[in-house]
Symmetry: C2
Subunit: 761 residues, 2 copies
């Protein structure tokens, strides 16, 4: 059951195969998107690493006086905001780019001087244990992060293997140095998510423990095992409840040097004497199974104390992933934007199993991943669109494993459902649809993976027939989701219809014609929410009438979720021709799209909407959130591909960038970045589940996609320039492409895809 | 790793071997001791069963208005008080006879009529789900319990296998019948102990889940899997917190028919239609590992729906245990008292592993018990005295396994300590000393078991040298526990000295003379707290002076725990001759003992002391608690064995009985009952760790002890009567016994031990 770590082997094979030795990690800047609403983190991680170790910056108000939700915390989904000047510590788990939050497990903070265990402020008004820092001292690279903690004169360096965080703190001379382990900290709501925390001091330099939280994931358990490079001279903890350990008598002085700590909220500390520039290292391993599992991970992945060795090993893993697409860009900035986007597509889902294949399942039992690597963090409403399709090109083996992970999730689900949003052995039900079916259908359409397709069909059908799920029972009965019964009724109807089409594709491949017919029929239900009298998708009531109060501009409560009818109403990815016809034909659709991109949306329609901000908006088109990601490509269906070409180039230029503000909205676990990668290469998977891509306008001058099958597709944009956004002609391996679509097989065959660029229409 | 269940095999072998076919289970009345302070439970369990399924009666005030501890709840350590007339439900775990409480896991209650989920009273003042009951309808037998729930006309029957509770409820006709699963209930403090609860509805008749509590055990997790014999028509739950499962939107109606429930406090219900006299059965399995483990236990132990088959199987297990000692008593009542006491010595420790040997260890990791059965609930300050010595006669294989369990506990302990009070993968540190060393030394002195004695010595020494444990550092430095540094300083000094003697015995057997010498020296430290000027053990201060304020009569804060100097000051079990000499010689000690049994103790000395009540007191001698259990036998060392003989007969007659008030104090996990078994047979292990027993006066007319080595010791009390309490002569296999001591080998050789009784001195 022991799995070999193949990455170093792959790196060697890549070198042998003569691929470029250019260091692509140099073009990645993890700071991009850390400002405003990108929600990405700058810390250290291996590709798809279980440990994502990153600084947590000091958000102004974590505790509302009345204990209520503080909307400001939304900015802190990844624990870090670039505008901040203080760091609370370094946490081992962080979401990348999500629009809601959790995690922040096991905050570690080195300090010197009088011990302070309060993060922000002590009860008598003194400064908490946070440190001031300056971006000038920050270094963020794939698998490496460094910062000076100015309040203490401590330099912090972080790297990781897949399952182990490696801290290296360089201290000044002190007889009062500390490393704090704050088990209270959670992203969002500092201290409201803990169910239980537990620490054991195994010896003078080894500690283990776990915590259970009830945040976004309602029943989440994370275990750890950690080793310090130097024995601590003493240790202790503070807890924030009255739980007794020793009955009626006070048997021990437990706060100091007592090796067992437990309670709802614990903060532990470890004391050291340090000489000038002395380095204390900490290896901190995670597991979903047990602290014994974490110890196994620690010993397997980092048996040594060589920080640089781990850093270099992880850098090599990144080089392997990044080298899969070699690009020449028009500007150095674009190259940084491109490789950082590619980096962002390799952060989640994350590996979610111990080195021996054990992991905690949705039923809270321990399972073993036979013949696959188990993953979690499936933000599927986002990632089915472009991230998983991208994986079918760059990460087919991982995508196969991800689908197997989804099937295992289904098998463990008491609902018999594929994941909606899989989250550390929990389903958090975030957003709508059952888009795991899209990921499965897309992989099958592209012949990726060796998962059990019959089982995948059964799991998909099971998922699509859970009557109590989100209006699905009504959808099955009425052929639409009635707006008086369920929120976001139009969005649900449209997405269910698309997912049902995906299931029909799976059924066809499996050869189950009955199921294919049934779900093909269901896939037409989008018809039922189109209102020809107003030319928009329109919420429909149980009695069959359309809702009376309705504003197609509004994003609030109009039958859509995180979008308005202008954008979200264009969501029929599996039958765009039909949609175009239904909505008045090509000309009218072209006008709709033109208007969408040019009209002004009033503030009232988007204010109070966390996921939609001005930064991500062009006219009334919202690029900062997912429902519209296919829209710029729709002109391909209205006879105006040149409008797609201009628009996608404009979006790449304005909505992405190489600065800390380089993401116009949540990266959403890599979806936003995957859109950029595809669009840069000149094509986009408008309909996951089919093998077709719609063509756009490449941003690259040249790209080499090194495929898993050993072939390479070289993309060349002839006559490329910032102004030459139009595509005059396209050829594949010398053959002129007559449509504005590309097939997946065209990519997998390798060879040359040549775009001839022009500035003329 | 699968372990065979050998009990039925043993039963067959016993029959083949021609042992008595008398049904000894008929003499057991589990109701004995359920009144007042016996703290035993009347419910169903297999010998040493992991599931101990018993009714929980309605204690008046569980919630104090201010949330504080209600001293009345002390009576409810086993969840049941005979005086009560209402039942709240049936819980699957209960301590037997302890003086502090926890457990009460998974309360199940059948009801009919409008669903009520509040146990005592609804918020609008209606009756809770409890039922009235009458003792007239109660049947309590080994492995079986029955009662009518008068409020509902439901008959409840319970039986168990080792790890599975089997409920059988006979309903009246109803279209509104319910089975409630109350996950909130805990023994003591109804709703203050839960950390987390979790339920999954696997299908229409199978449920799984777990709960984590922070009671006496700080980090306790119990998992379950349960099957109903009939599908429920609907189900639901109520929870008592605001934990969200589905983010910002209300995605599901979760209270009803939603198969996943979680929160700090859950009450679930399952609805049925029932016809007149319809039986609904429920098999409810536990595990410390996982719900998957519980399901394994369920399927392995009770794969069928035959309630009587399980009941008969468990009865056969009890018959096997009870038949090990066949007695003829002078009265039918004494026979009931005897076999009920024997029954009570077979309730704890409990088996604490799944059928495949997996169990949760002290480090919260999952371990496998290779080559032994893992046990928990070691109330060692109580049970090392007579219960474990009794096991060396009646349960040598189990005692061997218990010692291996203690060694595993040591290996998992972050303190490197043997258990003090082992409690479901927790150490609750209750009471003082490190008496696991006594259990080990006693087994070794009696050549019981095949545990690793070298490891046992190391574990014992590790335990005895943890400086931060309960004044042990001071004890090692000063050679006594200083009273100004540590509570119960004299008790600790005396018990540490005895335990150190035990370690010396272990070391001698292992052949480690250095350790034997070191601990023999430590075993003399009892000297250091004897104050010859007052003739009592006396708390000593760090500066070497005896404490000024001191009352040898008082049980509160006088340097002793749960006892006063008159009683507890006689605690030098390993060198009684020296103690007698030190305290003034045989005559003075005889006078001390005479006074102890005849003087009056004033109320002020014992009031507010939960563990010492008038019921368990003779003069100033306290039989209702453990520190004095060896005292009646001490006359053997002062030249007055006849006084021991009279006294132990008097204690057996007055402190034990066959009614519900038949226990004069907490049974303390079987110690009180083990005292009775030994004393009834005419001897007692005053010094566990030696192979000697002090003789008393048998209560039996005849006893046959069927030994594990195939031999039988027959004890005959010639001329036995209620008045003939004195022993004139004793012979073993025809040879006259010259001392008043018996050696373990005398027992193990089998044969005849004849006491000739008389009423004359």
């Amino acid at each position: 059951m022991k799995k070999l770590n193949l990455s170093l082997l792959f790196v060697s094979i890549y070198s042998i195969m003569g691929f470029s030795q250019e260091d692509f990690t140099q073009y990645v800047n993890p700071m991009i998107g850390t400002s405003k609403m990108g929600h990405v983190f700058p810390g250290a991680t291996a590709p798809f690493g279980m440990v994502q170790l990153s600084p947590q910056t000091n958000f102004e108000v974590m505790h509302m006086a009345d204990g209520s939700y503080n909307p400001k915390t939304y900015e802190y989904c990844a624990g870090y905001q670039y505008k901040d000047s203080t760091i609370l510590g370094f946490a081992h788990t962080n979401f990348s780019g999500t629009g809601h939050s959790d995690l922040g497990d096991f905050l570690v903070m080195p300090t010197i001087g009088n011990l302070v265990l309060d993060p922000l402020k002590t009860s008598d008004g003194r400064k908490g244990f946070y440190s001031n820092f300056s971006h000038d001292t920050e270094v963020a690279k794939p698998g490496y992060y460094k910062v000076n903690l100015d309040s203490y004169g401590i330099t912090a360096e972080l790297t990781t293997s897949d399952r182990v965080g490696f801290h290296q703190y360089t201290f000044p001379e002190s007889d009062n140095a500390h490393i704090i382990l704050d088990m209270v900290y959670n992203v969002y709501h500092y201290d409201h998510k803990n169910v239980w925390t537990f620490i054991r001091i195994e010896n003078d330099s080894t500690i283990t423990g776990y915590r259970q939280t009830k945040g976004w994931a309602r029943d989440r358990k994370v275990f750890f095992a950690a080793k310090f490079s130097k024995p601590f001279k003493s240790y202790g903890h503070k807890k924030y409840d009255d739980i007794k350990y020793d009955g009626f008598y006070r048997r021990f002085q437990q706060e100091e040097n007592f090796p067992e700590m437990a309670g709802q909220n614990l903060r532990a500390y470890f004391n050291f004497d340090t000489s000038e520039n002395e380095q204390i290292q900490l290896k901190f391993a995670l597991s979903s199974v047990s602290s014994a599992g974490a110890m196994k991970n620690l010993n397997a992945e980092i048996p040594h104390w060589n920080f640089d060795q781990t850093r270099e090993g992880t850098k090599a893993k990144w080089q392997k992933e990044l080298a899969k697409i070699e690009v020449k860009m028009m500007t150095p900035e674009d190259k940084i934007t491109f490789y950082t986007a590619l980096y962002h597509t390799n952060l989640s889902p994350i590996i979610y199993e111990d080195v021996d294949g054990q992991y905690r399942g949705l039923d809270q039992n321990i399972h073993v991943s036979d013949n696959f690597t188990n993953y979690t963090i499936f933000s599927l409403w986002d990632t089915y669109r472009a991230l998983h399709p991208l994986f079918n090109i760059t990460q087919p083996q991982r995508n196969n494993d991800m689908i197997k992970s989804m099937l295992a999730h289904h098998d463990q689900s008491v609902h018999n459902m594929l994941p909606i949003w899989s989250h550390y052995a929990n389903e958090n039900w975030c957003m709508i649809g059952y888009h795991a079916t899209s990921v499965i259908a897309d992989a099958m359409a592209k012949h990726v993976g060796d998962f059990d397709t019959t089982h995948a069909l059964k799991a998909s059908v099971n998922t699509a027939t859970v009557a109590y799920f989100e209006g699905l029972g009504d959808y099955m009965n009425l052929h639409y989701v009635p707006d008086d019964k369920s929120h976001s009724s139009v969005s649900k109807t449209l997405e269910y219809a698309y997912n049902d089409w995906c299931i029909a594709q799976i059924a066809k491949q499996v050869g189950n014609t009955d199921t294919a017919e049934e779900f093909t029929k269901r896939s037409t239900y989008f018809n039922n929410v189109y209102d020809p009298t107003i030319g928009f998708m329109h919420p429909k009531m149980s009695d069959g009438s359309f809702r009376k109060e309705f504003d197609p501009m509004d994003t609030h409560g109009q039958g859509f979720i995180e979008g308005n009818a202008w954008n979200y109403g264009l969501y029929v990815p599996h039958d765009i021709d039909k949609m175009v016809t239904m909505m008045g034909g090509k000309e009218r659709m072209t006008q709709h799209l033109d208007s969408l991109f040019t009209m002004e949306i009033e503030d009232k329609y988007i204010e109070k909407h966390e996921d939609i901000t001005r930064d991500g908006i062009i006219g009334n088109y919202v690029h900062g959130n997912e429902p519209g990601h296919h829209i710029p490509y729709l002109y391909n269906w209205t006879g105006h591909p040149e409008k797609t070409q201009a628009r996608v180039r404009m979006i790449m230029d304005t909505m992405y960038g190489s600065t800390v503000e380089g993401l116009c909205g949540n990266d959403d676990a890599g979806q936003m970045s995957a859109w950029y990668i595809f669009s840069s290469l000149g094509f986009y998977p408008v309909t996951p589940g089919s093998s077709d891509y719609a063509l756009g306008s490449p941003l690259v001058e040249e790209a080499k996609i090194h495929l898993d099958n050993g072939k390479t597709l070289t993309i060349i944009a002839k006559n490329q320039s910032k102004k030459n956004v139009y595509v005059k002609r396209i050829s594949i391996n010398g053959k002129l492409l007559k449509s504005t679509f590309l097939n997946h097989q065209d990519i997998m065959n390798g060879g040359e895809l040549i775009f001839e660029m022009t500035n003329k229409l």
